[in-house]
């Protein structure tokens, strides 16, 4: 169980982790498709690059974001003793 004086630092840490996970992801999610037209002139693996990045690329970025978040947040929980006891 978490100690009372650990709650504030724990929540500050969690908030920063939330921002660090979401802000870069949202920026990429919004900005990347807008440049797809220009990127389509290049190719990668035979795909038009803009299409590849908007479909497969964003998917990979989402996976990396969630994976990183799960890992980091678990580490934060354990660091502050906020994890579940089992």
């Amino acid at each position: 169980m978490i100690e009372r004086k650990e709650r504030k630092p724990y929540w500050r840490h969690t908030k920063w982790q939330m921002l660090a996970s979401l802000i870069p992801f949202l920026i990429v999610l919004i900005v990347l498709p807008l440049y797809a037209e220009g990127l389509n002139h290049n190719k990668f693996l035979g795909f038009p690059l803009g299409y590849l990045l908007a479909a497969h690329g964003l998917f990979i970025i989402a996976l990396v974001t969630v994976g990183g978040f799960v890992n980091r947040q678990d580490a934060i929980d354990h660091w502050h003793g906020a994890h579940e006891d089992n």
Binding site: M1, I2, R7, Y10, W11, T14, K15, M18, S21, L22, F25, L26, L29, I30, P33, L34, A36, E37, N40, K43, F44, L45, G46, F47, P48, G50, Y51, L52, A54, A55, H56, L58, F59, A62, L63, T65, V66, G67, F69, V70, Q73, D74, D77, G81, A82, H83, E84, D85, N86
Partner: protein
């Protein structure tokens, strides 16, 4: 010290059970393939396939029969992350997400990707902002959580009534699409197909609730993934691509681009806020496949992505499944798995659309007297229409049914008929999973938060379960009637549902965890404002009063709801001490599940009286 080992709660033989299911499903398909080669006609094989698959889902669902509320509403809180993720991925968008997205991608190309990226972005947002905290709270429905969190029966009842609307839209859309697949398999009328769909959803849920939904959801998930991936992989190998078509269809896209240039398909330009979605029914391809922003303008693309993202993140038919995971860590992981499965399914659907587009481009330019064989098969099977003006087939002369692209590819590639039936079974599986999820959510919201909602302490287990079971029957029948009467466009219904959840639930849910100052009045105002603005926007847009597409109604409604939430919260009294204590506990993963604690305290109070 309490010792609750995670390993003992989870059934260790889950992998074996679902391995048996998957191999049974594969052997059913192989058996029917052999029958087909022996000359047994399609109209006998398709019903066999339907009976086999639907029977297997229902047997698994019946095996989940229970008399415990914790099993009925939360599957006993012992669903491992992978299985939970698979269920979530399949039931978020269901058959709409497979059939309609593949069709939309086939017709408008790049401009349909926002549905996919909005979906997995929704999982990311859900995993970071909402899921772990809702799991720590452990409520069975969203309105219960909101009501308990703000300590207000008004919030509970009103949010249940308002969130029931998008859930009902999803239910009707999924029953409609599932009935379409059943109709195609059986070759009988729409009434019978809808009845089959309604009865199987009721039968699948009424005994086991969430427990049945979870485990039959895993089975339908496996079936849907196999049904999506197997035909397109075989087609890829036949056409000389690597058997990983999702990653190897790149050269094909560029080939299609070249033929499109030769065939003279125009490069259309859309206004920044314009949004043209393919409708339900037959229509020719609209634009070049890889050219962005011909049907959906760049600003509309971004806004639609964000709208779907917020809708998925707050979807009331998805979030309660978080409560089925064994812990907070697993809840986060489940969303990661959901992201994996959802992305894989969507990329496969897109690949199928690209392959189909390649077949289309081969037919363009051929003589009308001698069209390719596959086109004749599709026209005979009423999956495509050819309208002729000259003596050569142009790209605009072939119209395709938007929701049948998944079934069209195996036939176009000349695969045995069983593969087309397999695709229909996949659509049915996804529709079954999503319709069940929506139906269970709707029934538990209505019974827990409205019928039994006036009292915080739920009634005894048998009354509680009877009420929710009766509600299930009512709700699913009602959804079936709507699906039958309205004949609405399933794709639009889903997008409206996502807009409505985004505008009514998303701001409140996020604020309830990340902003301590929000109080019950703010929450109430936020939900009601967001919902009513979204409904008004949809009505105004469909009535032609405003230019903005009805799919984008969340663009105005979410800021309006957020503004109402913040201003009303700041203008009224700060939240009570009890709420603050509660939110402090919600934010920390360790410790007792809060819903269970609250119920225990209520019971103790009752006993003391």
């Amino acid at each position: 010290m309490t010792f609750t080992p995670r390993g003992r709660l989870i059934n260790p033989r889950l992998g074996i059970f679902f391995g048996i299911f998957a191999s049974g499903f594969i052997s059913l398909v192989l058996l029917l393939l052999m029958f087909e080669q022996m000359g047994i006609p399609r109209h006998l094989l398709s019903p066999l396939m339907l009976a086999g698959a639907l029977g297997a889902y229902l047997v698994i669902a019946f095996a989940g029969i229970t008399r415990e509320p914790i099993d009925f509403f939360a599957a006993g809180r012992r669903v491992p992350a992978v299985y939970c993720g698979l269920g979530i991925a399949l039931s978020t968008m269901g058959a709409t997400g497979m059939a309609c997205v593949a069709g939309a991608y086939f017709l408008i190309g790049f401009d349909a990707i926002w549905i996919m990226s909005g979906g997995f972005a929704g999982y990311v947002v859900m995993a970071v902002l909402l899921a772990p905290f809702l799991r720590k709270f452990g409520a069975f429905t969203l309105p219960t959580y909101l009501g308990r969190r703000f300590d207000s029966l008004n919030v509970r009842i009103v949010s249940a009534a308002l969130l029931a609307v998008p859930t009902l839209l999803v239910l009707a859309a999924e029953i409609g699409l599932g009935a379409k697949a059943v109709e195609w398999l059986l070759g009988r009328g729409q009434w019978l197909a809808t009845a089959v769909m309604v009865l199987s959803v009721i039968g699948g849920l009424v005994f086991g609730g969430m427990r049945a939904l979870t485990w039959s959801g895993v089975a339908t998930g496996l079936a849907a993934i196999l049904a999506l991936i197997v035909p397109v992989t075989i087609v890829a190998v036949l056409l000389g691509y690597l058997p990983l078509p999702q990653l190897s269809h790149g050269p094909m896209i560029r080939g299609i681009g070249r033929s499109e240039a030769i065939a003279g398909i125009p490069i259309v330009l859309q206004t920044p806020l314009g949004l043209h979605l393919p409708f339900d029914g037959f229509q020719p391809v609209f634009k070049r496949i890889a050219e962005p922003f011909g049907a959906v303008g760049p600003v509309a693309y971004t806004l639609a992505t964000l709208s779907v993202m917020m809708g998925v993140a707050a979807a009331p038919w998805v979030l309660p499944r978080i409560a089925t995971t064994p812990g907070v860590y697993e809840a986060r992981k489940a969303l990661g798995w959901a992201c994996v499965f959802f992305g894989a399914m969507m990329l496969t659907a897109i690949t199928i659309a690209v392959f189909m587009r390649d077949y289309l481009m081969q037919a363009v330019g051929t003589s009308i007297a001698a069209p390719p064989d596959w086109l004749r098969t599709l026209v005979a099977g009423r999956l495509a229409e050819v309208s002729t003006r000259g003596n050569k087939i142009g790209a605009a002369d072939i119209a395709f049914d938007r929701d049948s692209i998944l079934m069209a590819l195996p036939q176009a590639a000349g695969l045995p008929d069983v593969f087309a039936s397999l695709a229909a079974i996949g659509i049915l599986a996804a529709a079954f999973a999503a319709a069940s999820a929506a139906a269970l959510t709707l029934a538990s919201m209505l019974s827990e938060d409205i019928v039994n909602g006036l009292n915080w302490q739920p009634p005894g287990a048998s009354i509680r379960l009877t009420v929710v079971r009766v509600m299930l029957v009512v709700v699913v029948s009602f959804g079936g009637v709507i699906a039958l009467m309205s004949n609405g466009d399933a794709f639009k219904l889903l997008l409206w549902a996502l807009s409505l959840t985004a505008s009514s639930a998303f701001p409140v849910l996020v604020a309830s965890i990340w902003w301590k100052r929000v109080n019950q009045y703010g929450a109430f105002a936020g939900i009601v404002t967001g919902f009513s603005v979204a409904v008004l926007m949809i009505l105004a847009s469909e009535g032609g009063l405003i230019e903005l597409s009805s799919v984008l109604s969340a663009v105005v409604a979410v800021p309006a709801g957020t503004f109402a939430l913040i201003s009303v919260s700041l203008l009224t009294l700060p939240p009570t001490r009890h709420s603050l204590e509660l939110i402090r506990d919600v934010r920390v993963p360790g410790g007792e599940i809060l819903y269970d604690r609250e119920m225990r305290i209520l019971r103790q109070k009752e006993r003391r009286r």
